[in-house]
Each structure stands twice: as structure tokens, then as C-alpha cells.
Symmetry: C4
Subunit: 331 residues, 4 copies
């Protein structure tokens, strides 16, 4: 089976992953309308291709918060990479470094931050976090990430509670016994209810700010109003995201929301987007609409499921080639 | 089979109900366009989710015509509950009371008003009625309902004649011999033709008003013009409804009609809506567009078909949980 | 098999007619886009139903060019009724008379005008004609129709050449040897090429006018410009029609074209419409948009195919009942 | 199997061509969205048919850059005709001459320009070229074409790099050993990398101009901005084209782009269009929107695959008949 485009990796993962893992990665909230809209919205956007421009040399490198990456596609935070590949997030970190791009490690990793760092020293990494009821747990995670050389903190704002993903409920999804949410092992001990705090507000950004000198990127913004609030509360970046359509169903597609967020932000902070990226031309569309960089979630997991770090590199390389080609063809 | 969302109850009912009963409950007029539009119209409405608001405590109680209910979802009037579950409307009444919400009992119940009242004393109930050719029959029903403690009269305005439901014609639908429209047993004796009066006009509201001190809620309004007339004729509430798409096909979806009705009413009376509610987020959309409360029809019957009052409670509980979650996630 | 709605007759005809006959009746030009659009366009039109109006008595009779019919649905001109039922147009004439409505007999009938007249004396009938290269043939037909008591002449304007109906080409469609286009038997003898004259223009209306005192109705108008021309050239009626989607594919649906034609005509002549009528509510929509009456083509043939004149009466009766019901339910 | 419309030829070719050849001809870039949009966009355009105009005599001849063709449909440049029929481009040239229309021979022909010329002396032919890294190779091709009596040079502007056609990658598409890109045999020897130059700009039109007295037609324009540039750089004609949807996916359909190009050009040069023509009425639509002539790509290959030059003539004749009929029916 030739791996020609990202759908090939999706088909492979669907075929070879255990159903419970595939379902978990594929899940969207409720009717999965928003999950699917993320993709459909890209298809509705049309290029106006220009001809006879010199496209013999193209520079596709970019910088995010000052760090150069080889092309504007990073790895979005997703949980439980060992469900896709035995080495889990260690493979992800290695692939991202090999491709010289940014990897946002999830709090819900099946490897510790320390293992991730050790697997690919020197790679560009950000750390995704939630604010926990137990603020000390959050604070400890921030300190660890900072100490390990993570270069950004990504605060997920759209998960006061977990969205309703029907297949996960049906499957009674939980991690197999040999996998653990290692970063939180100690935190879970002190907290029997859901460890995430649904009472978090914009003021908690100030608290987070006080803990660290790292840039804070807020993830999950979908409206101009919240984009304005984010800028005012001093974040350095915004990831326009609907959590892959896994939280509130029937909100906007991220590429549609990107337009109003970019407009509201007026260049004051960097804006990124995730959700629905399936082709290099999707990356070009996102950039044309004002994103500085995009992040991929499920496609990264399909790459892992195919061949670990090698498979993820394949996915990134295909996106890179397609992105470069579509830039050339669009003039 | 895990019952995770309302569609699971629908699938169960379709599988286990006798075809003639399933067809009767599922039926829409003509091509069923409006029946299906009721659902599709909800899907076209998009949220603008807001982030980082304190959603740790949410109060989802509401009041309808002064009575508190535990969350803004009641039971719409539908006929023949014994087709779904042996105890029929008695189970419905018990489930509604258990969930502390409002049940609108249909004239076409297979239990008498007295049986319904006795099954769940103290529950909040309204009574749905038509105006009969034999006005004395209508008057008698109103008196009985009032005496039994029903707290509202719901006048159905959209059934001067019964809509054409093709499957019912094909099936030659009628009640099995052991079931009866018990509330009308005596009325039917004096009236060989359809007992409903197609000559009813707005002035009959005054007649109804003269019979009772109960609030009158009119059901079946779909336009701003009729909403204005309803207010002027002194009703206390309006249920925006197209009878589940069972009367005139190719009219508006109720959630679309709600917008113009709410605008016309300008808060002078309470406005409710039924038709097409399948998820907690549908409830949130209806409330965001001005409804005070929604009523569910077919989903209640699916719950009954699954496990009687217990099944209906399951349905209500799922809607309640989904409603609360979508409120939190929408900020 | 219960015959509940017009689709049931369609299914019957598709099952029991010889394929070559079914294909001929069902055929649309090219991709059949316009044929199907005729139906889809009705579905896009929505009612605004009004409530609590006295609908106990409704008068659905109407007059077309001064003649009363029992309800506003007539029989459009279609060819070769013997392909559907042995008695052919004689059955059609009988059914139309029995239902007290208007039947437009086609030039391409498999019975003569004389046979049609004799089959149902006293019925309201119009005669559909083309203008032939051999003007004498046309003149003779007009004289015969007039002498036989036909009360209107319907000039088909949209067939300078026959549209491309792929299945007819594939099937090598022609009438079986025992059927004949009897009205034209003599005309065909003098004319080896297509008998219809593609050089006909608006001035030929004057010529037709000079031949007869019958009202002239022009069929096949789809634009405001042509509607204006038709009025100026002195026709008494316009049938908005695209020949059932059998001529130019990808023109407008007739119900959409009706709106602009009615607007242009401003009541100076009567406007009718054919194409896509499948339910009584379609009739109501056409009337609400300004048609004085509609005509049905394929559904009449399905009725014939089912049970001859009896089947066609069934079709008309269903439409009548549905029309009356939708009037009542729409208020 | 009767060959009634172009889809019949498509079905034949799909059935009888080797998969690798069918896939190559059918291929679109990425998701094939633009390939399919080319067709769908025609379907969205509606006629406003006019009646009672004298359509007994119609002249469908036209002139492109001063040369008369029998009807406004030419053969677009496509590669590798021997994949469809053993005689390859020689058959194409013969069919085009027989039908008295224009054939644009591709650089990627499997016959030499000399063979093509010799096969059908006197036919109207243009030559399609790219600008090569090796300018001498391009120059030599231009000289050969001019010397052989080709009457126009078609510069393809939308292929700085080849689009990503997934099936071709999966199939490992390359020409069978007995076929060659004969026109480039010598050029390939001096150039191991892709022979096409991605650094070409508008200024290279001046260079091309300096080589030849033939008119230059630019192919691949999709925006008003590029149309203006083309006119300013002195081309004689523009082919609105997206390379059959084989280059950048998710750009505009050509018939949609035609409108803005025609508007920008304001008659200063001739405008043609290719892509998505499947019926004679599509030709009429393109002409009504301002094209002087259309060119067909895949349908020509299907014709070849069916019966060589005879099959291609069948395709052209069907288009001609359909075009004439739709002109008559549209008035």
C-alpha cells in the first residue's frame, strides 16, 4: 500500500489500530458535526491561482514566537500516544525534531515530560496544560516543563468538562493497565474527582503568568470577543481550535473562526490554528487567512500508528511537499 | 446495548415496537419534509462558544407559568401511550414527576385524566384539548382537568382535519381493540363524524376562557401574525409547533418559526417550542433563541418503549446532562 | 398495494409498463436536470400556515377561460396514451369528464379527435397543436377541433425540434405497429421530413387567430419577455411549461418561472403551469404564486397505466383530497 | 452499446483502457475537487429559453484568430494519445481536419510534430509548448512548429511543477517502453531534471514573441489580474483553463473564471475555455458567457479510445448536433 496522502495513513490506522484506540482518536462530540465541519470548511475555500511568477526558489521556513521551524506545520497536543505506538510521545518528539518543527506535548501524555525531553534533546517543544483544581499540581507541571527546556506553555481553555464522545462511552474507554498518564500520577492521588477546574476564568492567566517566564499560548479560542480578551490578558499566542470537534458540537469550523480571530487580534499576538488539516493546500489556506502556523492532531497519530517516528515523519514530509507544491501552483 | 444518546432509544423503539405503532409515532405528513426539517434546522444553527468563564456551578431550573421545573424540558402531548408501554400515560406521568418537570397530557390518551392524576399525585401537568363539534364534550373535559389539578390548558390549533400520513393509511392504522381513547368515550357516542370542529376561530378562545380560570396555552403557532393574534386573544403561553411535521407538510421548522414568534410576542407571554429536539444542545439553542422551555414528543415515546417510566426518565436524564454540559462548554 | 399518493401510481407504472413505454413517458432531455428540478423546486417553497380560521366549508371550484371545473387541476397534453392503456385518449377523456375538469388533447394522440369527442360528449376539452410546415394540415386540425366542440387551442411553442432524450435514442423508440398518430395520418403523407416548422414566429399567432374564433393558449413560456410578447400577440392564456423537462435541459423549473410570468402578465390573461405537480400541496403553491389552474402530465399517464379511466380518476381524486386538506391546514 | 452522449464514450474508455492509462487521463490533483467542479459549475448555470424565434436556419461556424472552423469546439492539448489509440496524435489530427476544427497538439505528444502534420496536411493546428530550462529546446520546437504550418503557439502557464495526481503516484505511472515523448527526445538528453523551468515569468512572453511571427495564446489563466497581464504582454488569445483540474486543486471552475476573464479583457483579445464540457449546451453556455470557442480534453481521448479518428469524429459530431439543438431550443 503506497502512502501517498494523509488519507492513506488514516485508512491504515483505522485498519490496524485496536477499535477502542481508533474510536478514541477519531471521536467527535455528539453527532461529530464540528469534527467533520473542520474538514469541509477547508474545501469550501477556493484559491485564485496566479501564473507566471518565478517559483523556482521558495522559502517555506517560518518563526513561531521567535523560533525557526522548517515549515509552518507543528504537532498539536493530543493524548495517549502509546495507544498508537509503543514508544508513544518519545517517538513523536523524535519525529518533530527530525523534521525541525514544534511539538506541543500534552498533559495527557503516556510518557513523562522528562522522558520526552530525553528522547529528543534540543527539539523545539511547548507544553500543553490545564488548570487543575489542585493548583499546586499545575504549578509543579509548569516548573518541570520550564526546567526541561520547553519553550512555551499552551493553556487549553475549552475543556472545563470533557465533551460527550458517544463511542468512548459505548466502549467504556480507559487506558489499558500498562499505560499511565504519567505526568499526573502524583496529582491524581490527591484528587478523586475530575482533576480539571471548571471555575477557571481569564484571571487565572495572571496566576499562570506569575509562575513562569515562558510565553503563554491560549488554545481553544473561536470568537473575536475571546481573542480580544486573550490579548488583553497578555498571552503571546492564540491557537484557534475546537479541540478537534471533541468538545462542544456544532460550533464553528476552526478555519472559519480563524478569520474573525485574526481580524480581532490585528497582529498584536501570533495566531495559529488546528483542526481539519489534511493536505498541504489546507496549510496554505490557513496561512493566507492569517495563521502563522498550523498544528496537526489526528494525522500525527495516524503517522505514529503506521510506523512510529518514521511514519510521523512521512506524514510531515508529505504535508511539506504538498505545501510547497501548492504554493508554487498558486503563484 | 448502551443507551448513550436519544438515537439509541429511537433505534430500540424501531426494532421492538410493532410496525404499526412505530409507523404511527414516526409518521409525518406527505413526504415527511417538515418532520425531518425540524431536526435539520437545529443542525444549521451554530454556537459561538465562549471560554474561561466560571462554569463550576450552573442553575438549570426554570419556571413555566409560575411553576418551577428542574430543567427546561417538558413532555409534549402525544396520543396513545399504551402503544408504547402497557401502563401508558400513567408511566409518563410518573416519569415526569420523578424528574420534576411538566407533562402535557393529550386528549387522545389511552388512560383517563383521572388515572393519570392518580398515578402521580402532585406532578405538574397541563391538559391538551381540541375544540369539539360537541362543545359540551370540550366543556366537560376542561372541567374534569381543572378539578383534577391540571394547571394549564393547551389548545391545539393546527388540527382542523388530520394530516395525511401515508404509512398510517397503508397500515389502516387504528387502536388495537383493548385500547381506548378513554377521555372521549362518551363524547364519541354522540358524534359519528370526526369529533373535531374545523370551524373553530380565534373567538373560540374567548369561549374557552369563559369556562375556566386555568391559563390557556395555544399550540401550533408558526407565524408572527398568529402570534400577535394569540397575544391579543389573551392566551398565557404559545407553543411553537408543527405537530411534529404530521399536519401540513412543507411548512417551516419549528426552531426557525420560533425566531419570528419570539420577536412578535416581545415578552408579553411565554413562548415554548416542540419538534426536532434530539440533544441537550438543541435545548440550549431553543433557549438562546427565546424559548422559555421545550417539549419533547417522539423521544418521550421512545423512552416509554424502552422501559416505561424508567426509560422515559433515562431519556430526560440524558437530555438534562447534555444540556448542562453544552451550557458549560458554550460558556 | 394501496394507492395512497401519486408516487404509488408512478411505482406501479414503472413496474408494469413495457420498458420502452415507461422510458418514453419518463424521459427528460439530456441529463434530466430540468425534469427533476420541476419537482425539487416545489419542495423548496415553504408555507406559512395560519391557524384558527373557519375551514369547515371550502369551495375549490374555479373557472378557466369562463368554464367551471371542479378543482384547479387539468390534464396536460401528452402523446400516445395507448402506450399506457388500450383505450388510450378515450379513457383520458372519460376520466376528465367524470371529474369535471379540463383535458387538453395532444396532436400526438393515438385516437382521433372524433373518437375522443365521441367517448365523452360534453366534456371540457382543449386541443393542443403545433404549427406544421404544411400549414393546411394545421388549419385542417384547427377546423376539426372547433367543429367537434373543443373550447380552446393550445399552441405548443417550445418544440421547433424535438429535445434529445437519451433513453429514447437508445431504445430506438417508435410506436408499435398497431398504434398510429391518427390525427396526422394524412398530413404525414405529404411530408417526409419532421412535420413541425422550426421557422414559426410570433407572427404565426396572427395567422392562427385568423383561422378560428377559439381562445388561443400558448404553452411553453418561461420568461417575462416572452410572456409580454404573448399578451401583446393576443393570446387568451399562457401555460408556463418546459415540456416536462423534455426539451431544453437546464432551463428553469416551471414553478420558479411562474413567478416572473405572473408578474409580467399583471392579470391581463390567465396563467397556468404544468410540470412537477406531485401532491395537492403543490397545486396550492402554484395557485398561491398566481396560477389559475395547473395541469398534470406524467401522473395522468400513471393513472391510465394503473386502471385506465378509473386509475386516472383515482389520481385526480387523490390530488383533489390533498389539495383540499392542504388548503384547510394552511388556513 | 449505442453511443448517444459523451458519457457513453467515457464509460467505454473506462471499461476498455488499461487501468494505468484510464487513471492517467482521468486524474485530477489531490481530491479531484476542481476536476469535478469544472462539470458541476456548468450544471449550476441556467438558461432562460426564448420561444417562437425562427430557428430553421442556424450558422454555427466561427473564426478563431482569423481561421474559420465548422463549429466552436476544438481539441485541447493533452499528452500521450498513443495510450488511447495506436496511431495516437495522427488520428487526432485526422479527425480534427475531417470535422474542420482546430487541434492543439501537445508538446507531450507520442508522435512528432512532423508526423502529425503529415497525417492531416492542411488542417488547422496550434502547437502547445512549455518554456524549458533549456531555452534552445523551446526555441527549436517553436521553429519546427512554425515551419510545419502550425498557426498558433499555446503557452501553458500553469505547470511550473506537475500537480499531485494520487493515482498516478500509486500506479507509478510512466509511458510503456514502446512509446516516447518524441518531440523532446533530444532535449531530454541534455537535461536530467524536470525539463520545465519554474522560474518563467511574464517577461518570457517577450522572449517567445521574439522567436516567431505566430500568434501566442496563453493557457491556464483563471483571474482578471492575470488576464490583464496577458493582454498587456501582447498575447493574441487566452485559454481559461485549470489544466483539467490536474494542477492546483480547489481553484475555480473554468466556466466561473471565464466570466471575470472576459470582463477584464473587454474584447481586446480572444478568450477560449476548456474543462468540463460534456454536452452541446455547455458549449452554448460558454459562448453566452463570452468565450469565442471551447476546447475539449478528456472527451477527445474517450473518442480516440473508442475508435481512433472515427470515434473522435463521433464525439465531435454529437457535440455539434447537441450544440445546434440547444441553440434552437434556447431561441
Amino acid at each position: 500500500m503506497a502512502m501517498v496522502c494523509l488519507s492513506d495513513f488514516e485508512a491504515y490506522a483505522k485498519k490496524y489500530l485496536p477499535k477502542i484506540a481508533w474510536d478514541y482518536f477519531a471521536a467527535g462530540a455528539d453527532d461529530c458535526t464540528t469534527r467533520d465541519e473542520n474538514i469541509l470548511a477547508y474545501k469550501r475555500i477556493r484559491f485564485r491561482p496566479r501564473m507566471l511568477r518565478d517559483v523556482s526558489v521558495m522559502d517555506i521556513r517560518t518563526k513561531i514566537l521567535g523560533s525557526e521551524i522548517s515549515f509552518p506545520v507543528g504537532i498539536a497536543p493530543t493524548g495517549f500516544h502509546q495507544l498508537a505506538w509503543p514508544d508513544g510521545e518519545k517517538s513523536t518528539a523524535r519525529a518533530a525534531r527530525a523534521m525541525n518543527t514544534c511539538y506541543i506535548a500534552s498533559t495527557y501524555s503516556t510518557c513523562t515530560l522528562e522522558e520526552i525531553s530525553a528522547a529528543a534533546p534540543g527539539g523545539l517543544r511547548w507544553f500543553q496544560l490545564y488548570i487543575h483544581r489542585n493548583r499546586a499540581a499545575s504549578q509543579q507541571l509548569v516548573r518541570r516543563a520550564e526546567a526541561l527546556g520547553f519553550q512555551g506553555l499552551v493553556l487549553t481553555a475549552d475543556l472545563p468538562y470533557t465533551g460527550k464522545r458517544r463511542d468512548d462511552v459505548r466502549n467504556g474507554f480507559r487506558l489499558p493497565p500498562h499505560m499511565k498518564v504519567k505526568n499526573l500520577e502524583r496529582a491524581f492521588e490527591v484528587c478523586k474527582m475530575s482533576p480539571l477546574d471548571p471555575s477557571v476564568t481569564w484571571n487565572d492567566i495572571y496566576w499562570l503568568r506569575s509562575l513562569t517566564r515562558l510565553p503563554i499560548i491560549i488554545k481553544g479560542i473561536l470568537t473575536r470577543e475571546d481573542a480580544e480578551l486573550a490579548v488583553r490578558h497578555g498571552v503571546q499566542g492564540i491557537i484557534v481550535s475546537n479541540h478537534g470537534g471533541r468538545q462542544l458540537d456544532e460550533g464553528p469550523a476552526t478555519i472559519d473562526a480563524l478569520v474573525e480571530v485574526v481580524e480581532a487580534v490585528r497582529g498584536r499576538v501570533e495566531v495559529y490554528v488546528d483542526g481539519g488539516i489534511r493536505k498541504g493546500s489546507d496549510v496554505l489556506k490557513a496561512l493566507a487567512l492569517g495563521a502563522k502556523c498550523v498544528f496537526i492532531g489526528r494525522p500525527a497519530l495516524w503517522g505514529l500508528a503506521y510506523k512510529g517516528e518514521e511514519g510521523l515523519q512521512d506524514v510531515l514530509r508529505i504535508l511539506q511537499d504538498e505545501f510547497r507544491l501548492s504554493m508554487a501552483l498558486a503563484g
